[in-house]
Amino acid sequence: MTVQLARTPQEAVGDVADGSTVMIGGFGPAGQPVELIDALLEQGAGDLVVVSNNAGNGEDALARLIQLGRVRRIVCSFPRQVDSWHFDEAYRTGRIELELVPQGNLAERIRAAGAGLGGFFTPTGYGTPLAEGKETRVVDGVPMVFESPLRADLALVKAFRADGAGNLVYRKTARNFGPVMATAARRTVAQVTEVLPAGSIDPESVVTPGIYVDAVVPIDSTTVLAGAQPSERGATS
């Protein structure tokens, strides 16, 4: 479907039903779609299942969503961080369920959902507590664990630039989970620094084809890019 060019993060995120599964891009702060998460906070949906590599930092965004009790369950690889006190508290008091998934299995499970696959065997996690109860199989002499696809109702990602066809390019290690999450959700929303006319992004360099993107919203992110040298902003032709 044609990509929606939203004016605000609220408009981009739109209606989210209670109980939705929401994927949130980012590895620590890099690639975290802060403004979209804020819009989700404002929108009000609760009883959410969140799929995200981390479980929030400090007081804002995902941490706040957890603090407010809006997240029933989180699927992630690394919830514990120095400033993940809101998750830690919710977890210790049993107010949030945690499914801990090795980072590579998390990425691959999301990809499998986006690619229409029914699951895969992976060596990662075999023989560890995170594989307990899972189907195993020896493939070419290597013991493996079966992992299932992981899909979502909504994906919130942060990219660098979009074009009018919804194509996305990312920036440095902020790319991380964005491209796979964009493929695995019924609706994908991307915040970007700017939206260019269709044809402005080299077709050879598109990372997320527009078919995966339902809405884009430009966010002034000069603060986030403060450390970047100006010349780099023009690096993607």
């Binding site: 590895f27 996690g125 023989g127």
Partner: protein, 228 residues
Amino acid sequence: MSAETIPAGARGTAPLSTAQMAARVAADIRPGSYVNLGIGLPTLVADHLPAGAGITLHTENGLLGMGPSPRADLVDPELINAGKVPVTELAGASYFHQADSFAMMRGGHIDVCVLGAFQVSASGDLANWSTGRPGAVPAVGGAMDLAVGAKRSVVMMKLLTKDGEPKLVRECTLPLTGVGCVSRIYSDLAVIDVGPALDGEARLVESYGVSRRELEEMLGLSLASVAA
């Protein structure tokens, strides 16, 4: 100083500092290797890789060709390593998403992965993600993927805990990260080969300031010599 040139049972005169440990790990990394350095101690290895040896660093959050930390005024919050520390990109670098990055790791394309550890068993089992303490918030990140993915996974760690408990053990008591995945331990007191190929008996490659007998007593394990 490569392990292959040191006679079995060789010993230095004193335990290694962490910088010396890092240099010792670096000395075993061949020119042209693709390397992933785990969070913590292994990060120090980067400072000891010889310039011009064409060694390329991978960071699993999506960058091949990672360079050192930038000057403070050039820090870019969107260019970080797996420890979320700002880094730089070198000429010939490439970025990729998480599924592609872990495909690169899991598919055996990385030559060496250097990991920290809480415990390693003589058969190469690794425990480095959970202290197993009740009530602790668990977190695994890429540890399990890294442990089993590289062509060769080695551990860099102090040989004893702060309380003097051995970290090389007959069987890990902490939750496992991977089974039979570690082939060598680089520690302050010794370099020791482990892994499923060794029939459960760790092999002393070299030691620093301690004798094999002292190590065996310390660890409660017998240590074979490297085969002549």
